[in-house]
């Protein structure tokens, strides 16, 4: 069955207009029964500069951003300027003739006037509603009932009073009517799947929901772009589930409080980005040493240092793996799309609790600000994972908090619950928790702590890949991680369609400890391994090289924007 795809980009002056237009449109199109993939960029500065919103609607999977668009809706000339080159050769430019001056660069591509300002003025008496005019018009392009848009706008502007709602709904109506007359030809014969039980969320929201689903009940936090919305979400929603989200004075205090709460028996998660994770390094190590479970969502942004806070990059992997002094165990994970953001967060908290280790979940700015409609998660039969607790009648005399068990996991008493008082300490300690620096004890305890990772690594095998079996006779394989999943998958489809060459794809969600056995199996038949990453130095590739002695072909992109499938098709074909 052929699938249909429509990619629309809206560009205009920074600020809320473009974004809220895009957000309402996305939801309406999703309700209309398409799979959507919505992405936005905005300037780091609070105001000014170009904002863009790109919406892809599809009746097949809509897994990735697209560099070229079917429709560019240019609200002002800057947007035309910046994006005209991205219109496909058979694409269309929608533009407001009062603001956009067409030039040669449009070439032979179609254009349709969309006098947003004039329509807005006519319909509402003001220019202000022109984003909603655009929205109405695009609803028509996606062939979504205008009522969907009007209802959503009603909810969106509800708090601002009836007049505002009416004005915006009028603008939507007017845009829609205009489009029905002038743009009918853009529409595609989508095979819609209506009435699905879905939610429309971005990566940050999916992580935050995952935290709640995972039973997290304490969230310390400190704002940092692009992770802030996770914390804001939890400040709003966690109290409704009886949990507590508390802002601290910095990331150090935030993680310290998290460890305190974890020690006191809570399931704890916090969210941050590169600079914040840096500040957490010392305390993260403490969590590993005291064996207090804790989960950190690290939403990667362009680095180094303050870098490019509003841009994306997969460049914190090595730091996540190695970013503490000395040697302590830790699990690093990376969800591969929005749906996975939810589930890997649930899993991260489970792993943290079961193994009593810190878990870092690496998402990135692209995932954080990409929205997709996903099936409403069903938590029936999902194991949330309990921390190992000593029986209540344990004898305190013989009890060892850091008992040297086979899998390294030791029972952890909870203050107020167990009559098993112990010292939890960052100093090297005996199984009982007393400071001890003898060689034998250090060796024993280091091995005990790392054995947890071995135990985890063994279990990872079954769960961490995307495809259970590689295609027969395949010689080329790609290993990716994190948010590049969609682009890689689509690129492979394209390459197979174009060239007939079959390409295997492994996309581990647990990056460290490495699912060794699985990777070896994957590497087995391959003649060529390609590792694409959104960073400069090839961090995962280097990690794989260190473990498996292989020499992959590395594709690096450190541009602050995600790979597109088109780009990867080009880059991979060169290596075939």
């Amino acid at each position: 069955m052929a699938t249909h795809d429509l990619v629309v980009r809206i560009g205009g002056e920074g600020g809320e207009g473009v974004i809220s237009c895009g957000e309402i449109l996305s939801r309406a199109v999703a309700r209309g029964g398409l799979n959507i993939h919505a992405f936005r960029t905005f300037p780091a500065e609070i105001r000014g500069g170009l904002a863009m919103f790109q919406l892809r609607g599809s009746d097949g999977p809509a897994r990735s951003l697209s560099q070229s668009v079917d429709v560019l809706c240019a609200i002002n000339h800057n947007a035309y300027d910046a994006y005209v080159g991205n219109i496909k050769s058979d694409g269309v430019l929608l533009y407001d003739p009062a603001f956009v001056k067409i030039d040669d660069r449009l070439g032979g591509r179609r254009r349709i006037e969309l006098p947003l300002d004039a329509i807005s003025n006519e319909a509402t008496g003001a220019s202000r509603a022109k984003n909603m005019v655009a929205m109405g018009a695009l609803l028509a392009v996606f062939d979504v009932p205008v009522e969907y848009g009007k209802t959503l706008a009603g909810e969106h502007f509800g708090t601002k009073g009836e007049d505002v709602v009416r004005m915006n709904q009028g603008a939507i109506e007017a845009g829609h009517t205009y489009a029905l007359q002038h743009m009918a030809e853009i529409r595609k014969p989508f095979n819609r799947i209506p009435d699905r039980d879905q939610i429309l969320v971005n990566g940050n929201e999916a992580c935050a929901m995952g935290a709640i689903a995972a039973g997290v009940d304490f969230v310390p936090g400190y704002p940092i772009t692009p992770a802030t919305p996770i914390f804001e979400f939890l400040c709003r929603e966690l109290p409704r589930f009886g949990g507590k989200a508390v802002q601290f004075e910095d990331e150090i205090a935030s993680l310290a409080a998290g460890i305190g709460a974890s020690f006191a028996g809570k399931r704890v998660l916090t969210a941050t980005s590169g600079p914040g994770l840096s500040l957490m390094s010392e305390t993260l190590n403490l969590a590993a040493m005291t064996e207090c479970p804790i989960t950190i969502i690290n939403v990667m942004r362009g680095g180094p240092s303050t870098g490019m806070p509003t841009k994306t990059e997969q460049s914190d992997l090595k730091f996540a793996i190695y970013g503490t002094s000395g040697e302590s165990p830790r699990c690093i994970m990376a969800p591969l799309d929005i749906y996975d953001c939810f589930w890997q967060t649930v899993r991260a908290v489970r792993i943290a609790e079961k193994y009593q280790i810190p878990v870092i979940v690496l998402t990135d700015q692209a995932l954080a600000y990409t929205s997709q409609n996903i099936d409403t998660p069903d938590l029936t039969d999902v194991e949330l994972g309990e921390r190992l607790a000593p029986p209540l009648d344990t004898d305190p005399e013989t009890f060892e908090r850091y008992a040297d068990t086979e899998n390294g996991i030791s029972p952890m008493p909870i203050p107020g619950v167990h009559e098993l008082m112990y010292m939890s300490t960052g100093l090297e300690h005996t199984p009982k928790g007393a400071p001890n620096y003898t060689p034998a004890n250090h060796e024993l305890m280091t091995a005990k702590r790392f054995r947890k990772l071995t135990a985890l690594g063994r279990r990872v095998v079954q769960q961490s890949h995307v495809e259970e079996e590689e295609p027969e006779g395949v010689e080329v394989g790609i290993i990716g991680w994190g948010s590049t999943y969609g682009a890689i998958t689509e690129a492979i489809e394209q390459i197979e369609a174009d060239t007939g060459v079959r390409v295997a794809h492994l996309h581990p969600r647990i990056l460290s400890p490495l699912p060794e056995w699985r990777i070896r199996q994957f590497l087995g038949p391959l003649k060529k391994l390609i590792v694409p990453e959104e960073n400069y130095t090839g961090q995962y590739a280097h990690f794989l090289k260190g473990k498996f002695g292989i020499k992959p072909i590395e594709i690096h992109k450190a541009h602050g924007v995600p790979f597109t499938a088109e780009e990867l098709v080009g880059a991979i074909k060169e290596e075939l």
């Binding site: 939610i199 109290p239 004075e249 460890i259 305190g260 005291t290 409403t376 300490t425």
Partner: protein, 283 residues
């Protein structure tokens, strides 16, 4: 241990013998602390002592309660996490002048304004003891140390004045040379609902030869009998008099803790019954 038998002072001592130098002021801090715990009949299993790094940071090892020995300077936020997580626990944070006023100095104002219901024991010896004698934020101007071999070039901070400026809801000062007073202060601090801080001068006999039991004895004096613990400004005036080291409860205030406010929040936010209620908002 059963809760219906009264606990004795000895019940609060752990099996580990304090490893402080003989004569160290910290012995004069921990003994009255044990006594205060017995006085209020603190339950070891419901008590958590959190410390930073330093000689003073060894405190929880010697107490038969839950203990957490974290990293340098983070005793307060760690303890805050414990208390917010479970407000039924009695939480005590303890650390030195370097730990609490140097590297950890940025956290104090924020536990004060959250009014976290816990007790902070700030053990001041005007030196970095554990690392063997470097200047600390309370080392007096001109005092020599291993990092100020000629003279210390900085004026000291005024911990008491700072705590009052941060509006800690209970502020007291003590001296390890006066353990009886300390027992009293600990008892009151532990009973106070809200953030209570005890600034205790506790001489380091090994590393600090300039601020000593001897020099302290000369300037220590109890607060006047009629001291008004509700007068913060007066407390500040007293704190600025650095010629005398007044001991006693300087200031006490009763206002809501963050724990009570968080309890309210659960109501205010509107309770959900199940995850589905949340998902519904995103359909």
């Amino acid at each position: 241990m059963t809760t219906d038998t009264a606990l004795k002072v000895a019940d609060y001592k752990s099996d580990l013998k304090p490893i402080w130098c003989s004569g160290c002021g910290d012995y004069g801090v921990i003994t009255p602390f044990y006594q205060a715990l017995a006085e209020i009949q603190a339950q070891p299993k419901d008590t958590v002592i959190v410390s930073g790094i330093g000689c003073s940071g060894r405190f929880p090892y010697f107490c038969n309660t839950y203990g957490f020995h974290g990293v340098h300077g983070r005793a307060l936020p760690t303890a805050a996490g414990v208390k917010i997580a479970n407000p039924d626990l009695a939480v005590v944070a303890v650390g030195g002048d370097g730990d609490g006023l140097g590297i950890g100095g940025g956290h104090v104002a924020h536990v004060c304004r959250k009014n976290i219901d816990m007790t902070y024991i700030l053990i001041d010896n005007s030196i970095y003891g554990l690392t063997k004698g470097q200047s600390s934020p309370t080392s007096p101007l001109d005092m020599t140390s291993k990092t100020a071999p000629y003279a210390y070039l900085e004026d000291p901070v005024n911990p008491l004045l700072m705590m009052l400026a941060y509006d800690a809801s209970f502020v007291a000062r003590g001296y390890s040379g006066k353990p009886k007073v300390l027992k009293e202060l600990f008892t009151r601090a532990l009973k106070h609902e809200g953030f209570s801080v005890l600034h205790i001068y506790s001489p380091c006999v090994s590393m600090n030869k300039q601020v000593t039991f001897k020099t302290m004895n000369e300037i220590v004096q109890p607060l006047p009998d009629d001291w008004d613990t509700s007068d913060r400004l007066k407390g500040m005036e007293m704190a600025m008099d650095t010629g005398t080291f007044y001991t006693g409860v300087v200031y006490e205030d009763h206002r809501p803790t963050i724990h009570r406010r968080l309890d309210d929040l659960e109501e205010r936010s509107g309770r959900y019954d199940e995850l589905g209620d949340l998902f519904r908002q995103y359909k």
